[in-house]
Symmetry: none
Subunit: 460 residues, 2 copies
């Protein structure tokens, strides 16, 4: 057993203790009453890095919540990696749905239940612990590391472009690694190749100046709910394909190799139906469920409202109707161009008799994809196979992680997602948990990843 | 000046005071928190009739809101008329759109602004005041009157069939008069020949068991808002005609005489557009605006909601979406048959991947039409011409007054609609108002109507 393996094995009770400590801090970034808790979590992470032997620790204030920086930079001619993650968590409501208290971590059957356990306080600690173990065992790291932990990922990472611009030189690196990532199942390791981008807009349909008596005026004016329904119905074909001209123009063709990689991912459709609580799945014809979720863009109505919604009934022709749309994007779709196309389609499909306003949110995120054959992916694949005894599958995430694109744009590096959460761990939901086995194997995987990456030549 | 004219003229400040009192009661029948207010309004009406000299006053409880009865039956060999109206009002939301508080009546430029001012607390008081004036002036009425005021017209008058069955003998009459009616414009009197029927239903679309992360799951399930939009869009052609098979099957052809009467009604399309605040009107091709409103049936969405509607955004595929529909019917459409046709159409046009429930409210009302040459219409025409100096036009109402059909079915009498609201008075909308000039001339018109009807021979 190498020295670091020995160090990790004997120190697990201590690291578990640290994880429970960290989980006790209710660092909910979206609620202003928890601002001090987010700051406390930042300080806690700074201390943890210092105790682990890292250097140049700094808690950097931003307009909202701080970011935390730390490094170990004493490996000349070795590559430099930047490790990213976040120490903020989602709100806990509905609290009544929790079996265990969200901020009093409880261990049951090898799982620790707490808000932030899976997303992503467990994942955040792994690379810090790995660095500590290597430093303790060898007196040095096999490469240069920089850590960048943020405190507002759950509210959109809006401060990150500013941080990346201001600290561009200090954050320079050969590769970024996001610890905010996933494995596929307990016995199936995985590497995340990409995430979808996102953009959103709101449609406001206005008809008569105020709600009208549906008897007195019904039949003489366009009803905003009818008009909005025609607009919404025009956005898809009956078979679930987005019907906006140009929407798919920039979608890169999916290679046979890529589709083959998706087919290799074990997927139980019946279990997925049961998980969502639907009798049948529905989506774009010609694509499997996982292809629809990972390789194809979507246009989803996230909310819609108009007219009378209260108790009882009110017989009106409503004055207004509204809807919100969120698109998920794949390479090479551009959020702003998609917003323009959808806006134009809505205007062109507006029935007579109403005025329509489209408000595009110009804060979308671009899709992110890393080639499977990138050297960092190849190394990560070998490390996971070595640690788990099984070859990882290549997966993608349907959600959006804006910083992946930001690291590309601002720092000019690709990001390797390397994390150990599983998809069933109730992220963003009641009874979030994390598998303690993942916590241990993730530390070991990071040690091996650091060693293997250290064998690469520096690009900077 | 006859005695009753003198009485009315000197007592106007008192009656205005009573109207304001009445308007202060928020008798919203559709909201359970206002149940006591509806009861208070019933008691207020009972007291007002007693103070006016009417007899046998009774507040009669029903399963929901009470009805109020009163009479004066001391005119042997004279006809008996039953006067109908309602003391309940519509809800007030959106409250922010009101310039004046809905239940603190405000007089501006000869108009009183309040919920219920036009629909129909002003109209309700007129025949009571007319009876009081005639009793005070002559010591007797020229005919027998019965008053029946209900407290749940705005929620469909569902208790009326029961009331009319139970009190059939007490309510026996030669003619019913509905005070819940209209004049055409300030200088154009009118008589209402008919009203449209109505029926309504709710659509509940259910997809995944709970809201889903639109990134993680978007693309793999049917979105309930998309499904609902397809259903709603399927209900009309792009040209505004109802697209439900069989919907128009029972619509009686409109005679040339009827269309000619409609053409005689002065109608300023530009003014109507301005009143509603729309740039263009919209409706079924081949019919004039008034024909669309009076002679043609409609299907209108009155409300729709689903997904996230709060401030900010929440990127979900919603678990549910909902909508409410209200149809307006013309002879000989039957509300229950229309509900069956619409429900079947919705089921047949439900996209895959969602479950849809249609809840039909089996409390619709049938359309009502009274022949223009009926003796009561002829008398009412002469009275209006005498009071206003101008011959009335024959109009219809697009709205529904279920009791018109009920009086025919349960009491075997036709109903003369005789009321003084104008169509621009924001009924069911914010800033409802009533013209105080109508309040006064309506009282006088009722006095003359009672006198003229008293000259008829009793039919009972």
């Amino acid at each position: 057993m190498s020295h670091w393996e020995n160090y990790l094995a004997t120190r697990q009770p201590h690291f578990l203790d640290k994880l429970l400590d960290f989980l006790r801090i209710p660092s909910i970034s979206s609620l202003s009453e928890h601002t001090q808790d987010v700051a406390r979590a930042a300080d806690w992470v700074a201390t943890r890095m210092r105790d682990g032997g890292l250097e140049a620790i700094q808690v950097i204030p931003t307009e909202k919540h701080p970011v935390v920086y730390g490094e170990w930079q004493r490996a000349p001619n070795k590559p430099t990696i930047l490790i990213y993650g976040h120490f903020d968590v989602q709100p806990v409501d509905p609290l009544a749905a929790w079996t265990y208290p969200p901020f009093d971590p409880t261990i049951v059957d090898g799982r620790v239940y707490a808000r932030g356990a899976s997303d992503m306080k467990g994942n955040l600690l792994m690379p810090i612990i790995a660095a500590e173990a290597l430093l303790q065992a060898n007196g040095a790291l096999p490469l240069n590391v920089k850590f960048l932990w943020e405190g507002q990922e759950e509210i959109g990472s809006t401060q990150m472009p500013g941080v990346l611009t201001t600290y561009r030189d200090r954050l320079a690196c050969d590769l970024a690694i996001s610890a905010d990532s996933f494995q596929w199942t307990e016995d199936q390791p995985a590497l995340v190749l990409g995430t979808r981008g996102a953009c959103s807009l709101q449609i406001d349909v206005r008809g008569p100046e105020s709600d009208l008596h549906s008897g007195m005026h019904g039949g003489a004016v366009q009803n905003p709910i009818h008009a909005l329904a025609r607009i919404i119905a025009s956005l898809h074909t009956a078979h679930g394909r987005v019907n906006v001209p140009g929407f798919y123009d920039d979608v890169l063709p999916v290679s046979d190799a890529e589709r083959a990689r998706v087919r290799e991912v074990p997927f139980d459709e019946a279990a997925y139906r049961a998980q969502l609580g639907v009798d049948e799945l529905f989506g774009e014809a010609g694509y499997s469920i996982l292809e629809r979720l990972w390789l194809r863009p979507t246009l989803e109505l996230t909310g819609s409202w108009g007219g009378f919604q209260g108790e009882g009934s009110k017989t009106i022709v409503p004055g207004e109707a509204h809807a919100r749309i969120s698109c998920r994007l794949v390479p090479d779709q551009d959020p702003d161009r998609i917003l323009d196309l959808v806006s134009r389609h809505i205007r062109q499909n507006t029935p007579p008799g109403v005025r329509v306003t489209v408000t595009a949110r110009r804060s979308g995120s671009r899709p992110y994809v890393m080639p499977a054959d990138h050297w960092a992916n190849q190394i990560a694949q070998e490390v996971l196979a070595e640690i788990t005894g099984k070859s990882p599958v290549w997966i993608r995430m349907g959600g959006s992680v804006p910083v992946l694109d930001h690291f590309q744009s601002y720092l000019g590096v690709v990001t390797l997602p390397f994390g150990f959460s599983l998809l069933d761990e109730n992220m963003h939901a009641p009874n979030e948990f994390f598998r303690l086995e993942s916590f241990v194997s993730g530390q070991r995987a990071y040690c091996r990843l650091f060693e293997r990456l250290g064998e690469q030549r520096s690009q900077t």
